[in-house]
Amino acid sequence: MLEQLGAVTRQVRTPADLAGVDALVMPGGESTTMSRLLDTAGLFEPLATRLTAGMPVFGTCAGMILLADEVLDGRPDQRSFGMIDLSVRRNGYGRQVDSFEADVAVAGLDDTFHVVFIRAPKVERTGDTVEVLASHEGVPVLARQAQVLVASFHPELTSDRRVHAMFLDMVHTSAATAA
């Protein structure tokens, strides 16, 4: 989807893959599995360094969990990068039979955005520095703090590219500021 918007993409599995990447998407999956693989691939520390240095990042679902300051109902050994000041509860919306889709209003977009939640994490607290860009039934589902964008839904499961475009705008603005 990012390629349809003109970006060049690659998959990052090892520290070597990370070099030459300007921005990162941390996708959905199981956050416990991803946390473990980040460790075994030796990717956690290099990634933490890049994120702290201000590399733009978009975390969706499990990616959001990995970027959050506080993870509730996670595993004790689960690590997160603590890049955005919010508390998130794993599987906060329930199991797969509770997974759902809905329409939400997103700040800066004219029409509603159709979103898909899969065993989604639920945001339970946001800090003062976090800008909430969309909510569903009063709970934030899309939020931003500096170069960190997080969503508890899966924008890649629908064909609407507007949230991805929002992230690319962030990346371009960040690159322009750094230059």
Binding site: R13, T33, A41, Q96, F100, H114
Partner: protein, 305 residues
């Protein structure tokens, strides 16, 4: 990415559950992962600790079902609930082919995915379950593209190549993956008139054949199952085109399950990197012994219609 259905939802802001996209969505999230068969909460914890993206809760692994014989049925709900309580990753469970009441029970238990599985003794020798009637998503096995498309037309949201469960022998999984993916490749080269013949030959719905011609892939994820015993087996399935792997007897029938489980997870993640594969394949102890195809008298893969 491709999207085959409209993004609009009649349910609107209130939210709708059990839609095709929500069901397929969980399968999408398991891509690149390993789903492990477990028979106790302790094994489920080992699987989760090793990096499994989901567990399959069952009473006996396929190797034991094969050894014991008799009728294999849905697992005891108490046992499934014990495993659900032990882990935070998705929990799958198996229902017999055509046994829609077992599926209703599994849905009531809140499992995250149902495997309508040939490893259990079939309950219906003509019909599979109408999977559209459920909120919980289903995975089904297939040995060829026609079978995969018939299961998708019944509502399956994930297909796994069947392989031959409980053998520790990858040969059938390779055959089935090559069957399915080879025919997909041929269909993408066919002209529109030839697609009618493909649908007839595969005994599959024409619209699904036309969709494959257009997108070059199944409308749902394709995983591999049945015979994976080593990290190299998992990487082989992935390089052949599987999008994730199921490991049944291969882990908990080996000498030392935990290191093997971790190694298979890493091999599935880094499936194109021979150096990592060499590293994780070292010192794992003995894999399950395994059996040759000419030594077995019951091919589970032949179950399903």
């Amino acid at each position: 990415m491709s999207s085959t259905s409209s993004d609009s939802s009649p349910a609107g802001a209130a939210g709708s559950k059990g839609t095709y996209r929500v069901k397929r969505g969980l399968a999408e999230m398991m891509k690149g992962g390993v789903i492990m068969d477990v028979v106790t909460p302790e094994q489920a914890k080992i699987a989760e600790d090793s990096g499994a993206c989901a567990v399959m809760a069952l009473e006996r692994v396929p190797a034991d079902i094969r050894r014991d014989g008799g009728v294999a049925r849905m697992s005891d709900p108490e046992m499934i609930e014990g495993i659900k309580a032990a882990v935070t990753i998705p929990v799958m469970a198996k229902a017999r082919i055509g046994h829609f009441v077992e599926a209703q029970i599994l849905e009531a238990l809140g499992v995250d995915y149902i495997d309508e599985s040939e490893v259990l003794t079939p309950a219906d020798e003509t019909h599979h379950i109408d999977k559209f009637a459920f909120t919980v998503p289903f995975v089904c096995g297939a040995t060829n593209l026609g079978e995969a498309l018939r299961r998708i037309s019944e509502g399956a949201c994930m297909i796994r190549s069947k392989g031959e469960a409980g053998t520790g022998n990858i040969v059938e999984a390779v055959r089935h993956l090559r069957n399915i993916i080879g025919d997909i490749r041929k269909i993408t080269q066919a002209d529109s008139a030839e697609l009618f013949q493909w649908a007839k030959q595969l005994q599959a719905p024409l619209p699904l054949v036309q969709e494959i011609a257009e997108t070059g892939w199944l409308p749902v994820p394709l995983f591999c199952a049945g015979g994976i015993a080593t990290p190299a087996d998992a990487a082989l399935a992935m390089q052949l085109g599987a999008e994730a792997v199921f490991v049944g007897s291969g882990i908990f029938k080996s000498d030392d399950p935990m290191p093997r489980a971790k190694a298979i997870v890493e091999a599935t993640t880094h499936f194109r990197d021979p150096h990592i594969l060499a590293k994780v394949s070292r010192g794992l102890g003995a894999p399950m012994t395994g059996i040759g195809m000419d030594e077995i008298n019951q091919r589970y893969a032949e179950r399903g219609w």
